[in-house]
Each structure stands twice: as structure tokens, then as C-alpha cells.
Amino acid sequence: MTFDRLTLRCDASDSNIVNTTPWNWSICAGEKICIMSSNSFLKDQLMAIISGFVHPVSGDFEAFGSLSWPLGGEGGLDSKLTIGTGLEFLSSIYSDCLEASLVSVDDFFEVLQTRSIDSNMRLKDLVKEQKDFFYMMLSILFSFDIYIVPRSKYLMTKNARPLRNLLHQQLSDSKSLVSVTINNRFRREFCNRGMVLGPRGETLFYGDLEEAIDYENQNVKIDSGSESEENQFDMASNLTNSDSSSDQSDVF
């Protein structure tokens, strides 16, 4: 994954404020990196650019290999569809990732059964906990070269322990991971590198994860909003299907 002279927005209130120095760095295969910054908007922008939801202000971003959608993100599937239909759809789109997966479809349904979820249930009939569990499991079922983890709140809960085990199974040495989570447990369990960015996107530290966490604790001032930042990244709400019959009824 490479960033080539990339500039992105750093301030939610002013679209003209971008990172001071364009980014020219890359993430190699096997690198599981956690990006740390006091600027949560910057981190969300980074996640949105990697996920393809927004374009950078300038420069290019390129991913080599298969790229996941935001891990556990509740988007993409229409709530009217059943679990089986949704899985069928994604299996066609990411057939190569499913073939390479170390988690089988049988395992997938077996794990879902533990939360009383079966393939004939419609997505809108799932309760909150079931939904979180299903979407996280769905992201873990496919084997990607690069995983994107904007938040890890649910994954690190007690209920999601089987999901963490499966994610470990999928994350072999050659796989990469990019995360902006503030959860230190997740960082220590799944990441091996850390990068600390300043509020305007300048690289303050890049190296070993533990050193990066220490650097962040000593030098980065966490603003009051960071407590709730785990809930902020939700681009899927902008990507919803709209049902309108006006096209058909409006014959003349």
C-alpha cells in the first residue's frame, strides 16, 4: 500500500486545511500498523481514503493486493436481504478471497449459530448485538491481503472472543493491517508497528508498537472528544439504497 504525494483534509470545519507535508510512505506486506494521532478527523479521513469512500485532496493512494472493507462495518448489504443472500452476493464479488480463506463457510454458520443467527434471517430482524457479531464475522470470513480496522470496540468485547481467534487465524505473517483504533488491547494483540501523527499529519514517530504507544502517552495530548472516537467512523450511513417508485409510475 503506497501513498504518493498525498494530501488530505485535517480539519472538519475548514476544507482548505490539509496536511503540511504530502505523504510519501508505504506499508509493506506483513506490516500491521496502528496510526495514532490526537486529530480524530484526520484518522477518519485516512480510513475513508483507504476504503475508497472519499478521494484525497491531491496525490494518489494505491493498494496492491485485495483490500478489505472496514472491519465489522455495517454497510453494503440491504436490510431487506437475508443473511444467506448477502453472503451469496459477497461470495461472488470476493470469490478469490473466500477461496483463500482459512475460515470455511461451514465455520461461519457454526459461529453464527452460537448467537442464534441462521441463514434465513433478514438483516433487519437482527438485534444490535447480533448485527455487530454478524458484520464482524462476515469481514473475518474473507481472507484479504490488507485489513482496515477503523474501530475495535466490539471486537475487543467478551462476546467477540471467538471472532478474535478467527481473525488471528486469518492474519498470517504476509497479511497487512491498518488501524486507527485507540484501544491499546487491540493494538498489542494485532499490531506490530506504530505511527504517531501530529494534528496536521506530520510524522512524529514511526517504529515499534510499544515505543509508539509510549511516545503517544508522553507527547500527544488526547483531546476530550477522543473518548467517543471509536463510534465516529460511519461512512456507511451515506451509502444507503433509496427506494423510489416514481420512475415506474411516472410513465408520461
Binding site: R9, T85, I93, A236, N238, D247, D250
Partner: protein
């Protein structure tokens, strides 16, 4: 050789994505309708029957004449075949264009990085094409069964014209999809204008040879009319098609598709519509 393999692999993957999105859309429509999977066929069918009924009804109201129920077109075609051929070409174009004009309504699949707005537009066009082609073939089959008069003089021309219309529809749809971001009243006006132009100048109700020669230029600018008339000609080669040309249809289709692909390539990000904030 490696390069060709890569292209083939890429095209295969894109085709799989388009088919998957087409299924996704049909499934979600079926889930939200009491008609289930038949929803995608029933909608166009009722519209087609309405048009055929209207045309036949007007002819009967006009009274008996030497040209019978279908007017002078009845000399070459059964009126139901005449209408359904016009419908399947003109409404294919209309459905793709009007849907695109409302913007990208099926947005959720864009959440997955492999899916691009173009895939969604192509998948929706594929569904329209499937529905209208199925209906047309079914109606032709029923008419041929009852009249026992099967005729398809130039099948190659029929397929070519159909595919050229599909290309033109996709091209037009891609060009107007960006207009969906404009003011909704302006979009509504454009939409209604296009609907009327398509319905009344595409030869669904009439044949070009029935129009006086000095009035033909007012309708022959419309490439859909060329598609409709050439499609009818491919079924019956005796059907007269004055001022209708295949090269005009080809030129319009290729130019429209080429222009739209350039437009799409340079403005793809506008279709994502995700708010940066």
C-alpha cells in the same frame, strides 16, 4: 500473453461483479414486493399491455377501414408484434436513461471497495435488458403460436440493433447520471421532457413510412427511432424504412458510449456522494 491473461481475468471479474449486483438488486426488489421475483417482469409487462391496449383501442374507435385495426402498419405486421418491437427497444432506452437521471439510487454496494458506480449502472441496465428481452420474446412467441406465422428475416441485424441500442442506452445513462446531483425540480423537468420525447418520437405507435416525407426530419433525428424501425425491418424485410439508416444508429451508439466513458472516468468521484465531514 501475460497482459492478455490479465485483461481476460479483469473482464471476468468485472462481469461476475455486475451479475452479482444485478442479482442483489432483483433480490431486494423481490423482498420488498408482494409479487416476489415476478416484480421485475410485472412492472414492464403492465406498461407494455397498456400501450398495446391503447393503440388497438384507438384503432377500433376510429372504425373499420381498409388498413384494419393496426392502420397501414397492419400490412406488414400483426399490431401486437409491431407494438412490442417498438416497446422493447424504446423502453429499454427509456428505463436506463430515466433511472440514471435520478442519480445512483442503489448506493449501498459501493461500501465494498471492488464495486464502482459503473458496475452498478451496468447491473441495473442488465436487469432492464433481461426483463424487456424476456417479455418481448414471450409476446412474440405467443403471437407466433396463435397466428402460426413465424418470421425473422435478418436475425443478425436484429441482434446487432438490439445491442447497439443497449450501448446507446448505457452511454446516455452514464452521461445523465451526473445530472442527478442538480436541483430536484430541474431533474424532474428534464426527466419528463425526455419521457415525452422518447414516447412520441421513437416510433412505438407509428411507422416512419406513415409520416409525410416533409415531416420526417422532425423525428428522424432521434436514433431510438432508427433502432426501432431497423428492428422491425429485421423481422420483416418488406417493411419500408425510408430515411432510416444503420450507420446513423451505429455512429450515435459509439459516440454516446465513448463520450460517456470519458465523462465517467474524469468524474467518478462525484457519484460516491460520501460527505467528507
Amino acid at each position: 500473453m501475460m497482459f492478455i491473461n490479465r485483461i481476460i481475468k479483469g473482464l471476468r471479474r468485472q462481469w461476475m461483479i455486475i451479475v452479482a449486483i444485478a442479482d442483489y438488486d432483483r433480490n431486494r426488489q423481490a423482498a420488498g414486493s408482494s409479487l416476489g421475483s415476478w416484480e421485475s417482469l410485472i412492472g414492464p409487462l403492465q406498461m407494455m399491455l397498456f400501450f398495446i391496449g391503447m393503440r388497438v383501442g384507438f384503432s377500433f374507435l376510429r372504425g373499420t377501414n381498409k388498413f384494419a385495426a393496426g392502420g397501414s402498419t397492419d400490412m406488414y405486421f400483426n399490431i401486437v408484434v409491431f407494438m412490442s418491437t417498438g416497446f422493447c427497444i424504446a423502453f429499454l432506452f427509456r428505463n436506463v436513461a430515466i433511472k440514471s437521471l435520478s442519480g445512483l439510487k442503489l448506493k449501498a454496494p459501493l461500501y465494498y471497495p471492488r464495486i464502482k458506480p459503473l458496475d452498478i449502472l451496468l447491473a441495473l441496465s442488465l436487469n432492464d435488458m433481461r426483463a424487456l428481452a424476456t417479455l418481448s420474446l414471450a409476446i412474440l412467441g405467443i403471437v407466433y403460436y396463435f397466428t402460426w406465422s413465424f418470421r425473422l428475416d435478418s436475425p443478425g441485424l436484429a441482434i446487432s440493433v438490439y445491442l447497439l441500442t443497449v450501448m446507446m442506452a448505457i452511454g446516455f445513462g452514464l452521461s445523465v447520471v451526473f445530472l442527478g446531483r442538480l436541483n430536484k425540480w430541474l431533474v424532474k423537468i428534464i426527466k419528463r421532457l425526455i419521457q415525452r420525447v422518447i414516447i412520441f418520437t421513437s416510433g412505438i405507435f407509428f411507422a416512419t413510412f406513415e409520416i409525410p416525407a416533409h415531416l420526417r426530419p422532425f423525428i428522424t433525428w432521434n436514433p431510438i427511432l432508427h433502432g426501432v424501425e431497423l428492428f422491425r425491418y429485421s423481422i420483416n424485410n418488406e417493411y419500408p424504412i425510408p430515411d432510416i439508416s444503420l450507420s446513423y444508429l451505429m455512429l450515435c451508439s459509439i459516440l454516446m458510449l465513448g463520450f460517456s466513458l470519458i465523462l465517467y472516468r474524469t468524474n467518478e468521484s462525484l457519484l460516491l456522494e460520501v460527505n467528507d465531514d
